[in-house]
Amino acid sequence: MKVGLFIPCYINQLYPQVGKATIELLERLQVEVIYPSGQTCCGQPMANSGYEYESVGTCNNFVENFKGFDYIVTPSGSCAYHVKKHYDIIPQTDAVTKVRNTIYELCDFLVNVLEVKNVGARFPYKVGIHKSCHGLRGLRLGSCSEKVTEPYSHIGTLLKEVLGTEIIELSRKDECCGFGGTFAVTEEAISVKMGKDRIQDHLNNGAEVITATDTSCLMHLEGLVTRNKQPLKIRHIAEILNSVVD
């Protein structure tokens, strides 16, 4: 199994530790991971802002870099969703179709392809899961509170097995954090309010750490937590799953 690792642009530049944790975790699980060096971004920042046509070059660059792998894994539900859902703007060559069909968000890949639950991690904290929307309602990485389905959650499945972690329940299980790409800036007032409300829900229910499948949501929440000096740590799920037992 040859796995190509996609590290989203903002993780590459601002949160390299998330990329490192992802690669180390996958290697620990005996996966052969390659990080193609010509990668940049999935194209989402332009597309969600209404400039899909400016993202064509980015999409092509993505496909060029990842067409040769059995699976593409990324620590971002949002990017995986974008490739799956919106890469219909470029001609649907075999390479494009393959890339769209084989891209996986990290937890999804662990639970459904590798079929592992316990990755041997230890993380002795009370953790609140922020269910990032594109992963949740786009990729269906878990049951959604709006729908009448059996409850499940890939990130929850993995986190449950982590030694010492106590998952806290939230009052609003899967409300959006308000990041939303350029929304965070163009609708600043609401974006900030949504983020503050999410954080308060975690605090009210005793979380020490907030985790998620997406660093973009976490960057927004961390920005607020830091500014308001709130007693919370922000960790991407890859970082928790890579906290090896000492």
Binding site: C9, G38, Y53, N60, E146, E188, T226
Partner: protein, 455 residues
């Protein structure tokens, strides 16, 4: 005013935002509780979607069948291409009956057509009889929600409004007392009315009948007492068969308020002996929306308001911030079809979280349509030059990996070394209330390359 500007103003009063958010989340919560007791709920949504899609694909024939049956039932059927014609038709009917006092039950269509001011200009009194609608009518405001028109008003505000207009006693906003007073006030209006106007929830092709759903009983009080009943409907209200109501009445109230059905689901087929019944069928932009493959599913909407209750942006910005007849997510995909320029900020008033699409009882892909409107808006309406250029630059940057790495390096250095005051200065909207991450010394890319070398 753009949505974000209106939302910023709404957010100046954080307590009110919290109150508004909680009130609507409570309705969403009631909806959840109710739908989780229904076995096959998701299948029911599929059916709702399927029947509506089928109807639209044969809409002309169903409308003809509906008209034929309605006429057989003794109902007079009128057609209006736009709001203006709709208003004229209603006005003509009222004039023919010398109707000066009209009671109206909830109809978003008549809001859309601005019927009230049109009739009032000719000295006709139009009383909105739904309590929430009456409240906003007295306050001279448009409804802020399609099911809960006065959800933005506190009980104290209603108290003050009723004291001023209905002469009620101060009551600290006691809902029981205020509702009782409204009942008395509107009872009088029902008894005196020369004509009743109602909306239509469903129009049924195979019977020629219409169904109107209310909790208050106001549509029935109006329609059964007045000598003329005028029902106004958009072309998309049609369903092929009466048996299809089995699907839609199971979906509607549960999605709207969490009730298992509205108190009254009234099936009007033939007029009362000695009375008249009219149905006005309105286009007003709907056939245009039908012509757009990406957006025609927005015509499936059964106006339950669930997408508003679940929308984290709607809850925190209020219905008026959308400056459109139908606010919230569904309004944001309908309104651009009517006036792209005026409503160009609405599809951006979303994080594309997708909750709206998942609560929608007829499975409209609302968030996908928001995304698609964005693509059109940037091409067809003037965009700020800075947004346009930065998107182009970003597109270029991400197509060229080497350049991307260089720019990244500069950005990380700046985040590490510039003083916070500079980073969070005015042009950086992000930094107004949020910190930016501390720029790491090396990117993942650099780390990976080093690691490779050392292997």
């Amino acid at each position: 005013m753009s949505h974000s500007k209106a939302a910023t103003i709404f957010n100046k009063d954080e307590n009110k935002v919290n109150w508004h958010d909680k009130a609507l989340w409570f309705v969403r919560h009631k909806r959840d509780k109710s739908v989780h007791t229904v076995k096959g709920w998701e299948e029911l949504r599929n059916l709702g979607h399927g029947i509506k899609a089928h109807t639209l694909s044969n809409l002309d024939n169903y409308l003809i069948q509906f008209e034929e049956n309605a006429k057989k039932n003794g109902v007079q059927v009128h057609w209006a291409v736009d709001g203006e014609e709709h208003n004229k038709i209603v006005h003509q009917i009222l004039k023919a009956h010398q109707a000066k006092k009209v009671v109206k039950s909830k109809s978003m269509l008549t809001e859309e057509c601005h019927l009230n001011p049109y009739l009032e200009a000719d000295g006709i009194e139009v009383i909105d009889s739904d309590l929430g609608e009456r409240i906003v009518q007295l306050a001279k405001e448009p409804p802020s929600h399609i099911v809960l028109p006065a959800i933005h008003k506190t009980k104290e505000e209603v108290d003050a409004l009723f004291q001023e207009h209905l002469g009620t006693k101060p009551c600290n906003g006691d809902p029981q007392y205020l509702t009782g007073e409204a009942r008395k006030h509107l009872r009088e209006k029902f008894i005196q009315a020369d004509a009743a106007i109602t909306g239509v929830n469903f129009a049924i092709a195979d019977t020629g009948g219409i169904v109107v759903c209310t909790n208050e009983g106001n549509a029935d009080m109006g329609a059964h007492l007045a000598p003329v009943h005028i029902a106004c409907m958009g072309v998309e209200k049609l369903i092929p068969k009466q048996t299809h109501l089995g699907v839609f009445l199971r979906l509607l109230a549960r999605s709207a308020t969490g009730q298992h059905i509205t108190t009254y689901s009234s099936h009007f087929k033939k007029p009362l002996k000695g009375s008249e019944m009219h149905i006005v069928i309105v286009d007003n932009g709907r056939t245009e929306q039908l012509s757009r493959p990406d957006f025609r599913a927005s015509l499936h909407c059964i106006r339950c308001g669930a997408c508003m209750n679940t929308c984290p942006i709607y809850r925190r910005s209020g219905g008026h911030s959308y400056d459109a007849t139908i606010p919230g997510p569904i309004g944001s995909i309908l309104s651009p079809g009517k006036d792209l320029k005026k409503h160009s900020s609405l599809p951006f008033a979303s994080t594309l979280c997708g909750s709206c699409s998942d609560v929608c009882p007829v499975k409209i892909d609302i968030h996908s349509q928001l995304y698609k409107w964005r693509q059109l808006i940037t091409k067809e309406t003037p965009q700020p030059i800075i947004k346009k250029t930065s998107m182009k630059m970003m597109g270029n940057l991400f197509s060229k990996p080497l350049q991307f790495e260089k720019v990244g390096k500069v950005a990380r250095w700046s985040l590490r070394n510039l003083p916070k005051g500079v980073i969070n200065s005015k042009p950086n909207v992000w930094g107004k209330e949020r910190d930016l991450p501390l720029g790491p010394t090396e990117s993942f890319d650099e780390w990976y390359k080093k690691r490779k070398k050392n292997e």
